[in-house]
């Protein structure tokens, strides 16, 4: 149903979105890793400090099938609906598009009648996705100026190429493959764009066959996982440039372009370097019409007693940081970095993007450290900071601690006990763990977090 005025959660610019009221609910993908025939679920978490349910799961909708592996998800509509060339501001931010990375099934979940009791209103089966797009393993979801975009890791047979497909914003029908000319691109993972420059950036992980049985050391040591960025023309749907980080940089994953549409730069997290097991953050930017990429942050591996390491890492006698997720505040000032290996969570001031300054660091979990939360200071935690989300005003940061079931098992073979925590970020830098917010997911594992009304990775903007 069309609204009479624009959806109140749409903001023309990221600066205006920072004035948004604090979020009261979060939606969290919850994975059932027990292989007991029970399905995954989407959870609703109470974020209102004034509420009696603060920091607790207050709603849950189970998926109709088992084995989806819910992973990333996103909204049907966002501030990009205000873009001037295809404006349609009177649609509602209401539905969550929730794909299963294993099953290739896509769930459309309505949060409107009761935001605490979301309901599944449509399910797109993997056969439909395959027939319409030639893709499988849907991953990132972004609402675009004129449709819903999604990335996919590969083809239905589990090989490449992976890419992007588009869904209709009203009917949620899968429209088809997005690329008209993919150039040399084969591997896929994340994607986002610079709307002001009509430019899409995509990153690389591996095909479904390369990742769904765990990280494959043979492929890894050959430098076979993704290590490139691809630059595309958004309206023309064509590949324009490839940016190679070098094969020793393995798994170029999360992309966080500047939110301000006039800033042609963004940040990329790389999981591991084959040279020294370090992880890194890279800056891509446009100069004189050409895009380039540079390493701006390197986080070294930490030496460790092999007895404390999982079999995969024992030979290295070190814990790799493993940057698996990053997030950028709406003012493009603070970059948050999750280290799934060491359990460190780092805040950088990236106001000067070429010269980041470390402004905060906390530890929770970690392969060796197993750092505890202040609410339960005697309980060692496993898993580590992973999927991170930042509130629109930049004052609150939430994250969960699981990565992807087959990979969780390699880094935390004892089985991840999953939790979600909240940090309070200080206006001039620095952050503190909220001692009252510690959510235990019980039998399930929390993955991506989406905040009610939008967050720092849900919306894109056409005005600065």
């Amino acid at each position: 149903m069309a609204l009479w005025r624009p959806d109140p959660t749409f903001y023309p610019s990221p600066k205006m979105a920072m004035q948004a009221p604090p979020e009261k609910l979060a939606y969290v993908a919850m994975l059932n890793a027990k292989e007991n025939g029970r399905p995954d679920a989407l959870g609703v978490v109470d974020l209102d400090p004034a509420s009696s349910g603060y920091g607790r799961l207050v709603g849950q909708v189970d998926m109709p099938n088992a084995g989806d592996e819910l992973h990333h998800f996103g909204w049907n509509a966002c501030s990009a609906c205000l873009c001037p060339y295809a404006p349609h501001p009177h649609v509602e931010r209401r539905y969550l598009i929730v794909p299963g990375i294993n099953s290739s099934r896509i769930h459309i979940i309505d949060t409107k009648p009761d935001p605490r009791k979301p309901q599944i209103v449509k399910v797109i089966e993997p056969e439909t996705l395959a027939a319409r797009t030639g893709y499988a393993s849907p991953h990132t979801i972004h609402c675009g100026p004129e449709g819903i975009y999604a990335s996919a890791l590969g083809a239905p047979d589990g090989n490449g190429p992976g890419g992007i497909f588009v869904m209709d914003q009203d009917s949620f029908d899968v429209m088809g493959k997005w690329e008209l000319d993919r150039g040399p691109q084969q591997l896929a993972y994340d994607f986002w764009w610079h709307l002001g420059f009509d430019t899409v950036i995509t990153s690389e992980w591996g095909t479904p066959n390369m990742v769904n049985k765990g990280v494959n050391p043979e492929i890894l040591l050959k430098g076979g996982y993704g290590h490139k960025l691809h630059v595309w023309d958004l309206p023309k749907r064509r590949h324009v440039q490839e940016l190679d980080l070098g094969a020793e940089q393995q798994m170029a994953l999360e992309l966080r372009p500047a939110h301000d549409p006039t800033r042609p730069y963004g940040f990329l997290g790389v999981v591991v370097s084959l040279k020294d097991l370090s992880a890194s953050i890279w800056l891509w930017s446009r100069d004189n019409g050409k895009w380039g990429v540079h390493k701006i942050i390197e986080i070294p591996a930490e030496p460790a007693d092999p007895a404390l390491l999982p079999p995969l890492l024992q030979g290295f006698k070190a814990v790799p940081p493993l940057i698996t997720d990053i997030n950028l505040s709406l003012d493009d000032r603070f970059l948050y970095v999750s280290c799934f290996g060491t359990g460190e969570f780092i805040q950088y001031d990236v106001s000067d993007p070429l010269h980041p300054k470390k402004t905060g660091s906390i530890h929770l979990g970690g392969i060796v450290r197993k750092a505890a939360h202040p609410k339960q200071p005697k309980t060692p935690l496993n898993g580590a900071p992973q999927m991170v989300e930042v509130s629109r005003d930049g004052k609150r940061v939430y994250f969960t601690n699981s990565l992807y079931a087959p990979w969780d098992a390699q880094f935390y073979p004892e089985g991840i006990k999953s939790w979600m925590v909240k940090l309070n970020a200080k206006p001039e830098g620095g952050m503190e763990i909220d001692p009252n917010f510690f959510l235990d997911f019980g039998e399930l594992r929390g993955h991506q977090v989406r905040l009610e009304g939008g967050d720092a990775s849900s919306d894109s903007y056409c005005y600065s």
């Binding site: 873009c83 914003q169 420059f197």
Partner: protein, 210 residues
């Protein structure tokens, strides 16, 4: 001059202004381009192609109707136009398609084409037709001949309409860019698509009455 011309020209002008008011029809794009380049000159520069595209959309419809008038009886043409307007209005009430013509990196030609397609998709030209039909031909002497059979009247009508459109588009774009800012969009951007759809239907019905 007959009675019809008394309201015909102002009606054309104000219809143009009404089209200019719609954020989806041009001024908002002009503001966005100004913000992207951080310059009010970019706002001004975008006005010419936006107005040109809009004028072309109006002119094409008027010229087509003129041509059809030569082969079709006036009464038949009236019904056809009325049916077209009502059908487009109903379609726009129930279906909200948003096509993507271009992105934010647009040159003169892209912007002209975008404005032409945007105005056409909204039925801007069709909406103007009944007004022109109700106007007398250039000299005003042949009372039974509708104005649209006269190419000169068609051109003048396009010009007057586009002037109303351009003035409002330029005014809003510059005031919003330099003074007001876009925050007001969140409250003031009424769903003109719905109003527009109803306007198309009403104009269609009015066309029958002329």
């Amino acid at each position: 001059m007959s009675g019809a011309s008394d309201w015909g020209w102002p009606a054309l002008f104000f219809l143009g202004a009404y089209h200019g008011l719609n954020p989806g029809m041009g001024w908002l794009f002009a503001v966005a381009l100004g913000m992207q380049e951080k310059s009010s000159r970019a706002v001004v520069r975008s006005l010419a192609p936006i107005a040109l595209g809009h004028a072309a959309a109006i002119g094409v419809v008027l010229a087509l109707a003129s041509a059809m008038r030569i082969v079709l009886p006036l009464q038949t043409l009236k019904y056809a136009i009325a049916a077209g307007l009502v059908a487009l209005g109903v379609y726009r009430l129930i279906r909200h398609r948003h096509f993507k013509w271009v992105g934010m990196q647009v040159g003169f030609v892209d912007l002209t084409l975008w404005s032409f397609l945007m105005a056409s998709a909204h039925g801007a030209g069709l909406m103007v037709l009944p007004v022109v039909m109700g106007m007398p031909a250039g000299g005003g002497h042949a009372h039974h001949t509708a104005g649209m059979t006269d190419p000169l009247t068609g051109a003048e009508a396009t010009l007057v309409h586009s002037l109303g459109y351009l003035i409002l588009t330029a005014l809003i774009a510059l005031i919003v860019y330099q003074k007001v800012g876009l925050a007001m969009l969140r409250k003031a951007w009424l769903n003109l698509d719905q109003v527009w759809a109803v306007a198309l239907i009403v104009t269609g019905l009015l066309a029958l009455a002329i």
